[in-house]
Symmetry: C2
Subunit: 166 residues, 2 copies
C-alpha cells in the first residue's frame, strides 16, 4: 500500500519532527479531554484525576513519592489532595515503620470514582490500539519510552511496569 503518510523513510528529519510533534500534541489533547462531566460535577479537575490514578496504582504510596511522580510542589498537591481526603476518596494511613509518613490509599468511594472516570479513556485507548494493530502499539510504547527524559527513564519505567509482571 502506498500510504505515504506513515512511510517514515519518505520524510526528512524536519518533517519527522513536525509530524511527531503535532500528532503527539493533538492525540494527547484529544485523549485527556474526554467528557469529564463526572469529575466536574463533583468539583474535581484533571489534577484530582492524576492523584486518584497514581494512588490507585500504588496503594500505600508516600506523599513524597506522589510528588515525584506528579512533578509538582507539595503546596500544589495539598489543595488537591486535601479535598480528595475531605470528601472521602483517599485515606491517609500513618506509616508503621516511620510514623511521619502518610501512606495513601483509595477508599471504596475513591476506587469507584476512579473506575468511573477511567472507563471512557480506557475505551478510547483500546479502540485506538485495535485500529492501529498490536504491531503499532509496540512501536508506540518504544517511542514513548525513548521520549522520556534520560534522568527519569529508569524510575518511570519501573513505575509503568508495576503489576505488569504476568
Amino acid at each position: 500500500m502506498a500510504d505515504i503518510f506513515f512511510d517514515v523513510k519518505k520524510h526528512s528529519d524536519h518533517q519527522k519532527f513536525l509530524k511527531g510533534m503535532e500528532l503527539l500534541y493533538f492525540a494527547y489533547r484529544d485523549f485527556i479531554s474526554w467528557p469529564d462531566d463526572v469529575l466536574h460535577t463533583l468539583g474535581f479537575g484533571r489534577a484530582h484525576h492524576r492523584v486518584l490514578h497514581f494512588v490507585g496504582r500504588n496503594p500505600g504510596l508516600k506523599v513524597a513519592e506522589l510528588l515525584k511522580l506528579l512533578n509538582i510542589t507539595k503546596q500544589s498537591l495539598s489543595r488537591v489532595l486535601g479535598t480528595l481526603v475531605e470528601k472521602g476518596h483517599i485515606r491517609q494511613d500513618i506509616g508503621d515503620q516511620d510514623r511521619r509518613q502518610r501512606l495513601l490509599h483509595l477508599t471504596k468511594q475513591g476506587e469507584f470514582l476512579l473506575n468511573k472516570i477511567a472507563e471512557h479513556q480506557k475505551e478510547h485507548m483500546l479502540k485506538a490500539f485495535k485500529n492501529a494493530g498490536n504491531h503499532s502499539v509496540e512501536g508506540f510504547w518504544k517511542v514513548l519510552s525513548a521520549l522520556i527524559a534520560d534522568e527519569n527513564r529508569v524510575e518511570i519505567l519501573s513505575q509503568v511496569s508495576r503489576d505488569m509482571g504476568k
Copy 2:
C-alpha cells in the same frame, strides 16, 4: 529477545491501557518541559510557542483557523497573540478577498525565535526516533493518529500533512 515490557500480547486489556496512558503522560510531560529559558526570559510561555508554531507552519493563517487548531477562545488567544504582535514576532495582514480577516505571518524575528525554541525539541524527538527505530516510529504515528478524536481526525491529519508532500 525476551523484552516482555514491549510484548503487547503478554498484556491484558487493562494492562495495555495503563501502560499506554502512563507512557503517554510521562513522555508528553518530558517532551514539552524542555529547558524553556529562551521563551521565559522574553516573557513568553508555552501558549506563545504554540501560536508561533502554528503560524509558522501555516503562513497566512486566519485567526478563526488558529483558534480551531488551538481549541481555545478568542479571548484567551488575544492576550497571547497581542504580545507576539506587539513585540514584532507576528504580522497581521488584512485579507485581500475579505478585508475583515487578519492573515497571520511570522516576521523574520518570529522565525528566528521559533527556530531557537524548536532546536531542543527537535533534537529530543529525533534522538528518540533514532533509538526506537523507523519501524517503531511508524507505529507511533499510527497509534497517535488513531487516538485523535473521530470528529477531528480528517482535518487534523490534513494539517499534519501540510508540506509533507515530497
